[in-house]
Amino acid sequence: MSGYARRVGIVLWKDLLVERRTKESLNALLFFGLLLLFLFQFSLGPDRAQVESVLPGLLWLGFVLAGLLGLGRSFLAERDNDCWEGLLLTPGDKSAIYLGKLVANVCVMGAVELVILVLFGLFFDVDLARALPGLAVVLPLGTLGLAAVGTLFAAVTAQVRARELLFPVLLLPAQVPVLLATVSATQVALAGQPLADASAWLQLLAGADLVYLVIGLLTFEFVLDA
């Protein structure tokens, strides 16, 4: 088991190091998030009351769109310089690679989401301090759900033509439950209500995360090996 954890750690460390050195995903995604906030504002108009009710949906729409761009890239770098063969030659259970990639994706997505959240609070004048305890639960759960399926499908589509088209077409319908649950729970959190009001949604989200994670761990080897 310690060998397994070590392999997870190595993949995670490698991905984060590559990201730190190139800053490819992070920089572009942060800028993309900022652009999205502007686009939302333009398309909804200046009426504050009108925007208020759709804020949780907008926030998660931003996260999902950023996730589509960020997660879809997570296996592209592996195609160069025979890295894919390197992954295949890794000894032991291949699901360790999936887990390492997944945790790296959650880290990068989490960082992007935090910055988007702060900008969001700034531009739409949202009282974040009140919502913070709730968001601290919803955000990781939602990100995990998004990344668990996203990482698996990214590995699939990395080896397919029309990748950038196919990835969202596969991921978005699968993410409807995550979107519904996170938006509802975020609504509760932003309204300053106790998180217990959204406990059913959070349970569903946690259950969905678990299902996605287990499927990812079980099937990843078949995808990598194809």
Partner: protein
């Protein structure tokens, strides 16, 4: 490729059952008191959705079977069932829409079951798109199997999330926990049509699997001739 008389018999049986079902839907079953003749659409709508669910279960079975055994037969089953599942889900949505206009006064509403059926449709259209994008058969089978498993595992999650999100559709009367309140002639006509649709599905499935076999044989022949 040997001709299969059994499949042919199945086809004739399906045709006969459809004619009987049609006759019962219009001749035997009485006119519904509140909705009038519009209600007869149910004899297509309900069998279609039950058939679609059967198809998606077979996609799951075929997907797991393929990953477990790597036999191409499982993949042909999954692919054929997915195509038919999309077809019957399409019939479900279209017939429901035609029924909804005079009954609910709208072609479409974001009711729970409508929405989850539509999401199901999108998930498996994505599955078919993925299949179309991969040329190499073994790869296609593996990727499709993974997406098929995620899609099937997602069905209950989608179901519950969308149900909590919104509810307007009348609760399920056939598969519900209470004894069915449907009058006997209507239930009998429905049963006849359900049997007919299942037979039709079995016939289509057998034919579609045959076509997939022929396609693969032709492809291998072409490779050998080269």
């Amino acid at each position: 490729m040997p001709r299969r008389p059994l499949v042919r018999v199945l086809g004739w049986l399906a045709l006969l059952a459809l004619l009987v079902g049609l006759g019962m839907a219009f001749g035997y079953a009485p006119r519904e008191a509140v909705q009038g003749n519009v209600q007869r659409i149910m004899y297509v709508h309900v069998p279609a959705v039950l058939t679609a669910y059967l198809a998606f279960v077979l996609v799951l079975v075929g997907s797991i079977g393929y990953l477990a055994s790597a036999r191409p037969g499982w993949d042909r089953l999954a692919a054929s069932a997915a195509e038919l599942g999309v077809l019957f889900t399409g019939i479900t949505i279209a017939s429901g829409s035609i029924w909804g206009k005079p009954t609910w006064g709208t072609w479409w509403t974001w009711d729970a079951r409508l929405t989850s059926t539509a999401i199901l449709f999108l998930v498996y259209v994505g599955y078919l798109l993925l299949r179309a994008m991969v040329d190499e058969p073994e790869r296609r089978a593996r990727f499709a199997a993974v997406v098929g498993i995620v899609g099937a595992a997602n069905i209950p999650i989608v179901h519950f999330s969308v149900k909590w999100w919104r509810a307007l559709h009348q609760p399920s009367t056939i598969l519900g926990p209470e004894p069915s309140p449907i009058a006997a002639p209507i239930a009998l006509a429905l049963l006849a049509n359900w049997v007919a649709f299942t037979l039709l599905f079995a016939y289509f499935l057998a034919r579609r699997v045959e076509i997939a076999q022929l396609e693969e044989a032709a492809l291998q022949g072409a490779v050998r001739a080269r």
